[in-house]
Amino acid sequence: MPSFLRKRKLIVFLVGIILVVSLIGYSLRSDSGESLPAQFAIDTVGFFQNILHTPLNYFVEIFDSVGDIKSVYEQNQVLKEELQDYKTLAYQVSELETENEELRAMAEVDSTLTDYETLNAAVVARSPERWFQQVTINRGKQHGVEANMAVRTAEGMVGKVINASQLTSTVQLLSGFGTEHQVSAIVDGDDSIFGLVEGYDSDTEKLVFRELTGEDELEEGQAVVTSGLGGVFPRGILIGEVSSIELDSYGLTKVAYVEPAANLQDISQVMVVDRDLHSTVIDEEEEEE
C-alpha cells in the first residue's frame, strides 16, 4: 500500500509539472488579450483593490501633505515669479492655437497625429511581482480604454495599456518594456533622428533608444518624444531626455540611453491617451464589436 501511495504522489507530481510547463508555453504564445473568465477575475480583484485603495490613499496623502507644508513658502515665492512669465506664455499659446486652427482650416487638414483626448484614471494597485512592472488603473472598456493606448502623466509617458477589462485595465510601464513593446520615437525639434525605444536597462534605470537614423547629430540632453508612426500613440508625448550615447556591442551603430521624464516608481494619477486619428487596427476592432 505505501508503494502505491508513493506512486500516486509521483504521478500527481509529474502530471502537475507537465501541466504547468504547457501552461507557461501557452501563455507565452498568446498575446491577444485576456479571455472572459480572466477579465472577470481581474475586474473582481480590481473592485476590491479600489475599495481598499481609496481610504488608504487618503491616509497616505495626509502624511504627504504634512511633509509638503514645510516647503510651501519657498515654493510659493518661486511660483509667484514664474506666474508672471506664465501669463505671457498662455497668451502666446492661445494666439498660436487660433493661428494653427486657421491655417489647418485653410489647408483642409481635419486631424493630425498630434491630436488626442485624454481620460483621467487613478492607479489602484501595482503588480507586487516587480519583474513585470505593471499597474492597474480604475478605468476599463466601459470608459473607453482600449488595449495599446498610451498612458502618460503630466511629466511624460509612463507606458501603455496592455490589457483592458470591463472596469479596470492593466498598464505596462516603460520600465518593463522589452523588444515586444517598441515605441517609435523621434528627437524633439529634429525629425531626421528617428529610432525605436525598445527595452529598459534595469542596472542604470534608463530606456534604450536604438535603430537610430541620423545618429551623428544626436546630442546629450535632447528630448525624445513619440513619433506617432507606431500606430496608436499620438505624436509628441515626451518620453525622456538623452543621458548618454554609446556604441552598441558590435561597435557598428550607436545606442542612446534615455532618462524617463516621468517618475515610474511613484505614480498615482495617469491619463490614458486616445488618439483622434485612429489606426486601422483599432478601427477594425471597433467594427467587429
Binding site: 502537475g16 509539472i17 501541466l19 504547468v20 510547463v21 501552461l23 507557461i24 501557452y26 501563455s27 507565452l28 498575446d31 480572466a38 477575475a41 481581474i42 480583484v45 476590491f48 483593490q49 481598499l52 485603495h53 488608504l56 490613499n57 497616505v60 492607479v123 489602484v124 494597485a125 501595482r126 503588480s127 507586487p128 511581482e129 516587480r130 519583474w131 513585470f132 505593471q134 499597474v135 492597474t136 496592455i162 534595469s202 542596472d203 534605470e205 516608481q265 511613484d266
Partner: protein
C-alpha cells in the same frame, strides 16, 4: 463557515499586498533595492504548520489557488507562481512532520519557503527571458530585502492569528 474564513483572509492579504506595493514608494528609502510581498505564501505556511493535520492540504490548496490568481492578475505568464508556490508549500508540508510547532520553526519554514519560491520564480523567468538581472545582483537587490520584509510581515501576523488557527483546528477535530 470556518471553511470560508481562511480563503477570505488569503484574499484580503492578496489584495492588500498589491495596494501596498502601489502606495509605498519604492525608491524613497530603499534605493535600488526591491522587495516583493509574498503575504499569501506566508499565511499559507502558517496554515500548513498550525491548522493542517498530517493528511489535510488546506494550506497547500489555498496557496495554489492564490498563486494561480497572482499569475492571472499580476503577470502575463500563467503557471510560474503556481509551480513555485506549489513546490515551496509542499516542501513545508513534508518538513513539518519532523519538527515541533513553535515560532522558530515557522520562521525557519518561512525563510526556506520564501527563498525556494523566489529563486524558482527568478530562474523560471530567467529561462523564459523575462528578466536579465545577474544572479549576484538578484541576491542582494531582491532576495534579501524580500526575505526581510516578509519576515516582518510574519512577525506582525503571527501573534494575531496563531491562537485562532489552533482553536479552529481543534474545533474541526471535535
Amino acid at each position: 463557515m470556518k471553511v470560508f474564513l481562511l480563503p477570505l483572509f488569503m484574499f484580503i492579504f492578496f489584495v492588500t499586498q498589491s495596494v501596498a506595493a502601489e502606495l509605498i514608494p519604492q525608491t524613497f528609502w530603499l534605493g535600488s533595492l526591491y522587495y516583493i510581498p509574498h503575504w499569501t505564501l506566508i499565511f499559507a505556511i502558517l496554515i500548513i504548520t498550525f491548522y493542517d493535520r498530517e493528511h489535510s492540504y488546506v494550506g497547500l490548496l489555498n496557496g495554489l489557488a492564490f498563486a494561480f490568481l497572482t499569475d492571472l492578475v499580476y503577470t502575463n505568464l500563467l503557471g510560474v507562481y503556481f509551480l513555485a508556490y506549489g513546490l515551496a508549500l509542499y516542501m513545508v508540508h513534508v518538513l513539518k512532520r519532523y519538527l515541533h510547532k513553535n515560532f522558530l520553526v515557522v520562521l525557519l519554514f518561512s525563510i526556506l519557503g520564501l527563498a525556494a519560491a523566489e529563486v524558482l520564480i527568478y530562474s523560471l523567468y530567467f529561462i523564459i527571458g523575462q528578466v536579465d538581472l545577474s544572479f549576484n545582483a538578484y541576491i542582494f537587490n531582491r532576495l534579501i530585502p524580500t526575505l526581510l520584509i516578509n519576515i516582518l510581515f510574519l512577525l506582525i501576523i503571527y501573534p494575531i492569528f496563531i491562537k485562532k488557527l489552533v482553536k479552529w483546528k481543534y474545533e474541526l477535530e471535535k
